[in-house]
């Protein structure tokens, strides 16, 4: 008797297989920076993406998942080369990742031309929200200008009359400056750009900042550059002279190295570690348990990206060839996002809330990021009307 049971179950097993035969597993390419100082961000994104896959039982839409991680070395030409490799050599179904806007812009064309669905879990250059938008592109983060625009509004609320802006001279840096200038009502007394990514010596810019005597200073320096800037800002004795407002400069990956320097410096964010929804609690708790450190917004956005892929593949029951249907499913964004629910705009960029974060002393005396207020609700980027999609 037992033998026949075994035979039948084997039969069923092989019957079941052909249905899925044509798509054994879902292949996902993940491009981020795993070398040099920004490797800290890349690792945070990888850990969060892997955590999401663990939560999904290592299956996406019922299919086993295979992830190929590639290092773009923070260089546009290397990022493009690795994107080409993932598409032509590894034949991936999805490409996820991209910290830097310039790397994403360089890698967009090969993905769109080959109709490979691309999900940016961080970079959100204005061009892709506008004229370069594509049905095959989705963002689980934000459009670059939205966060600094939120800070601009907050500076108005705080009655700041004049501001001095400093940022790196690459695609995202220009977007950030444009974002603040769009909403900030006060006078811009100075706008300085520094060479990216190798200039980490801000002495010239800080001296000019002090000379301009603004009410406040706005800064955008992600990753190690943020650590360097803050150190030199404090070293130059500006901490108590000129208040500092930031975007993407103070986060869970840089806070350990910024320490006390970061106390009392506000920043805006679309995701914060103390958001009350269940998905976020589970994500933060499991991440801390596994990695002994708290996740950053880079990680949260990558976690959501995995859930988005899962929702798409599940909608087509594993037949990833049906790209149009997957795209329709992704546009509904029906998955439990760690930042609570959000909707997609016509250009596939999220419409979501932005919160104000401050750095305060935590219960154990270590500086911690704490949400203070909601600056704006259901904010959509200003470029969506330039996108030709519906």
């Amino acid at each position: 008797m037992r033998k026949s049971v075994v035979a039948i179950s084997a039969l069923i097993a092989c019957l079941g297989v052909p249905a899925l035969a044509q798509q054994k597993s879902v292949k996902i390419g993940f491009i981020s920076t795993f070398s040099g100082p920004p490797a800290v961000i890349g690792n945070d994104m990888r850990n969060s993406f892997e955590l999401a896959l663990d939560h999904l039982g290592r299956k996406v839409g019922g299919l086993p998942v295979e992830v190929i991680y590639e290092d773009d070395q923070q260089k546009p030409e290397v990022g493009k080369q690795k994107t080409d490799k993932l598409i032509e050599s590894d034949h991936v179904d999805f490409i996820v990742g991209y910290i830097w806007s310039n790397v994403l812009l360089a890698s967009l064309k090969p993905a769109i031309d080959s109709k490979t669905i691309m999900i940016s879990s961080n970079a959100g250059p204005s061009q892709i929200a506008g004229e370069l938008c594509s049905p095959y592109f989705f963002s689980t983060s934000w459009q670059n200008d939205q966060t600094p625009a939120a800070i601009g509004l907050y500076m108005n609320q705080k009655g700041v009359k004049s501001a001095y802006l400093v940022g790196p001279n690459y695609a995202a840096g220009k977007d950030m400056m444009a974002g603040v200038k769009a909403t900030f009502k006060g006078k811009i007394v100075g706008e300085e750009y520094t060479r990216w990514p190798d200039q980490l010596d801000f002495s010239a810019e800080l001296s000019k900042g002090r000379a301009a005597k603004p009410d406040a200073m706005f800064v955008f320096y992600p990753g190690a550059a943020g650590v360097q800037f803050l150190n030199q800002y404090v070293q130059a004795g500006l901490k108590n002279q000129i208040p500092l407002y930031t975007a993407f400069t103070i986060d869970e990956t840089t806070l350990p190295r910024q320490g006390e320097n970061a106390l009392g410096i506000p920043g805006a964010q679309e995701w914060v570690n103390d958001l009350p929804n269940d998905a976020n609690k589970k994500f933060v708790a499991d991440y801390k348990a596994k990695h002994k450190a708290s996740p950053s917004f880079y990680g949260a956005q990558s976690y959501d990206a995995a859930l988005l892929v899962n929702s798409a593949v599940a909608a087509v029951k594993g037949d990833v060839a049906r790209k149009a249907d997957m795209i329709k499913a992704m546009e509904k964004a029906d998955f439990a996002s760690v930042r609570g629910s959000f909707r997609y705009g016509n250009n596939h960029f999220p419409i979501q809330n932005f919160y104000l974060q401050d750095v305060v002393k935590g219960p154990d005396g270590m500086p911690v990021l704490k949400t203070v207020a909601t600056i704006v609700k259901d904010d959509q980027d200003v470029f969506h009307d330039k996108c030709t999609m519906k």
């Binding site: 030409e77 050599s89 806007s101 310039n102 360089a106 064309k109 090969p110 690459y170 060479r195």
Partner: protein
């Protein structure tokens, strides 16, 4: 006749047959990645061949030859961004711009000798690198995506992978044939004579400067063409294409392949890039092998692989 079937010509023959038949293999297996890889190898071999003309045959150690790769690419990229995508307009302009740049740079550099020549060619390449970094309108450091490849009004469709591959292969073989004619012509004899003994060349009545400058300009134009091909191949151009380590890579290809030999650059390009691609799959630390290998070739096998193949004639 026996000299014809030497080991070297057999290896080179086999390499050329392989390159010619590669698209057939790719079509059957549907694996397109080797085609992309070898298109890039052929384009860089073209650039190395142009450098070999002045470095291998002419003894002019230019450490800034990647500047022309960048120049060719940026002319195509800038014109494409401004809406001019016809190859008939772009490519002649690439040659003109590279010729002009080579003329000016050559006229200044060829006044120096030895290590100063190496340094001044490096300096001019760095200058073009920083011009590209400063071109904010064309992306500066972030690079420039080329959305439409050079159009040749239906004559050749550059976005067709196989057609583009054969175009590059044809241009490479034409370049190698041109170099073979050049170096044996009267002009070539002057260039090679100046490498062997410049003082004697002057004593017997050769105004060496104008011939070296002509060689410099020809090499610059040929490398500019390779730059235009590279920009079309990667649909993207950034200052990194002109970084001084890229000029170093070109020299490494020539030395590995066989300095001052016709097919040395091609052999060197294939070896270096296949090594890069293959090893990088095995270990992320593949460069740890290339460094010492280069040192070994420089110290012991001065003729590079071509030299080794040639010495096998008696085998």
């Amino acid at each position: 006749m026996s000299a014809f079937f030497t080991v070297r010509s057999l290896v080179i023959g086999a390499l050329l047959v392989f390159l010619a038949l590669l698209p057939v293999y790719v079509a059957t297996t549907g694996q397109f990645f080797p085609l992309t890889l070898f298109t890039r190898i052929i384009i860089l071999a073209l650039a190395a061949t142009s450098l070999n003309l002045i470095l291998g045959y002419g003894g002019m150690v230019s450490f800034g030859h990647a500047a022309y790769l960048g120049l060719g690419g940026y002319v195509v990229g800038i014109l494409a961004k401004e809406g001019i995508t016809s190859g008939f307009a772009q490519w002649p302009l690439v040659l003109a711009v590279c010729a002009l740049f080579a003329l000016v740079v050559g006229a200044l550099c060829l006044r120096t000798r030895g290590v100063y020549f190496i340094m001044i060619t490096l300096a001019f390449a760095q200058m073009i690198y920083y011009v590209a970094v400063g071109l904010d309108r064309y992306g500066g450091d972030d690079g420039l995506t080329i959305y439409r490849r050079s159009q040749f009004a239906g004559l050749i469709d550059l976005s067709g992978k196989v057609q583009f591959y054969y175009l590059c292969l044809a241009l490479l073989l034409a370049a190698i044939w041109l170099v073979s004619r050049l170096v044996n012509s009267r002009f070539g004899m002057v260039i090679r004579g100046s490498r062997s003994n410049e003082r004697r060349m002057r004593a017997i009545g050769f105004p060496v400067f104008r011939y070296q400058l002509t060689g410099f300009v020809i090499a610059g134009m040929m490398c500019g063409l390779a730059g235009a091909l590279l920009a079309n191949h990667t649909d993207f151009i950034s200052p990194a294409a002109m970084h001084w380590t890229r000029s170093g890579d070109l020299i490494v290809m020539i030395v590995l392949g066989g300095i001052g030999s016709l097919f040395g650059p091609l052999i060197g390009a294939v070896m270096l890039l296949v090594l890069e691609e293959g090893l990088s799959r095995l270990t992320e630390y593949w460069q740890i092998v290339v460094g010492p290998l280069l040192l070994f070739v420089v110290v012991y096998a001065h003729g590079g692989i071509d030299g080794v193949l040639a010495s096998l004639r008696h085998a």
